[in-house]
Symmetry: C2
Subunit: 231 residues, 2 copies
DNA sequence: ACCAAATAAATTGTCGACATTTTAATTTAT
DNA sequence: ATAAATTAAAATGTCGACAATTTATTTGGT
């Protein structure tokens, strides 16, 4: 799990708490965010709370309507597929740029991460860990390795929490943990080789496979052959 | 130029005004945003102003530091190139999805837009119009045509204003107006044919060419062969 | 009993004032 | 005269209260 800066201001702290609660589903998807209720429960002024809500909106976790208020986004299969459609080219480019710009330290970090993933999955139930945070951590650090601030902003600020939210609350039934870890290894290999084109190709394939796997599962669920935990 | 919803709230109005002023350079890039000064000049409370500033931050036009305040982003060649690196795969995917999902009405609209661009450039100085708003309008409507909400959010909310800002304030010396309009025609053609793969390829090439053109101009400028209007 | 209009309650938007932190100016010491 | 320390000014963060809007309830009519 990625944890960055400490909260310096009240709004910061409230944002981080609410963000975590929404991502993990402790604040239900689709539910209303009541300012009076929350400001009372969290013991902060509505000003600080509204600042935090504004940031939740900025990272696409809530939607706001003027004079009506904020509401946690609702999850849907359609949106999840859309996210993968966006990630495929974006992270593909991230991998390409990482092949050009990544530092040795960042490579070391990624190699260690992959080793850790393999170990976790071999020994006991690493599936949950991997699917909740581990997988995304890999993608996160690849994006960081691109050293492209705009790309980092889009993926790590605007999309990351949303991706996390789906990871926590949506289908946890994927059988792709092992293949995914292998594909990570291939991507990183191309990056280490400095082969941007190959890295982009491999990353796009990796994400496309994840999407198609989900699309297949959705189809199965819709045909009533699996219990529906897709919200 | 794309103009959407009317401002329903004070913060909305202030946001739109500030956004426009920043994009056009009437509020200088890199300058500080003083809450007391602005709230006094615009005759609104700091609460409404701060709400607006928060949204400016969300669309990457200002940066904020806790206890220090907001500052208009500064423009740089590096950032501009970064934006093109992000746009290339993102809008490529947008074109691919548009080929699958665009409606006839949207196609008609785009064809009319291209016709308008060709006319403007033939008759008189359409270059300025095209480079300030026309070109981006085309890209904007292609993205809309993808019917992918996540993609639309990223490109039309998080990146659009930033792109506009560079269009207004950065190099207006491109000689690529005519080629660009032709390339637009090709992209739209592939979309109309429903050839997603081709549309993606053409869009990526179109944006890559723009980036390389800029990179070339930057090199020339750095060699002192052109007057520097690159901030 | 059901629907529309009017009223009441609750929620969001906006404001001015105070608290805390940062920045500028002044003082003091070397 | 310069630099560090102290003090003063200004800016941001936070708060509670009021205004405007939305939502829920009640009233009245058919």
């Amino acid at each position: 799990m990625i944890e960055n800066n400490i909260a310096t201001t009240i709004a910061d702290r409230i944002f981080e708490n609410l963000c975590s609660d929404i991502v993990k589903g402790e604040i239900t998807a689709g539910s209303k965010i009541s300012e009076p209720e929350l400001s009372l429960r969290l013991k902060v002024s509505r000003a600080s709370l509204r600042e935090a809500i504004g940031r939740l909106e900025a990272c696409n976790l809530v939607t706001r309507k003027a004079n009506v208020g904020a509401r946690v986004i609702s999850l849907s299969e359609k949106k999840l597929i859309e996210i993968y459609h966006v990630r495929e080219p974006l992270e593909g480019m991230a991998a390409r740029l990482a092949a050009e710009n990544i530092t040795q330290d960042e490579i070391d970090n990624l190699q260690q991460l992959i080793k850790h993933h393999a170990y976790e999955v071999e020994n006991g139930d690493g599936h949950t860990y991997f699917q909740h945070t581990g997988d995304l951590d890999f993608h996160y650090y690849i994006v960081q390795g691109s050293h492209n601030e705009q790309l980092i902003s889009l993926l790590c600020n605007d999309l990351y929490h949303l991706m996390q939210m789906y990871r926590y609350q949506f289908g946890r039934i994927s059988q792709r943990t092992l293949p995914a870890i292998n594909e990570h290894q291939y991507v990183l290999g191309a990056i280490i080789d400095g082969d941007g084109e190959m890295a982009e190709l491999l990353m796009r394939n990796h994400i496309r496979k994840s999407r198609r796997n989900i699309e297949k599962m959705i189809t199965v669920v819709e045909c009533g052959q699996l219990s529906d935990n897709l919200g």
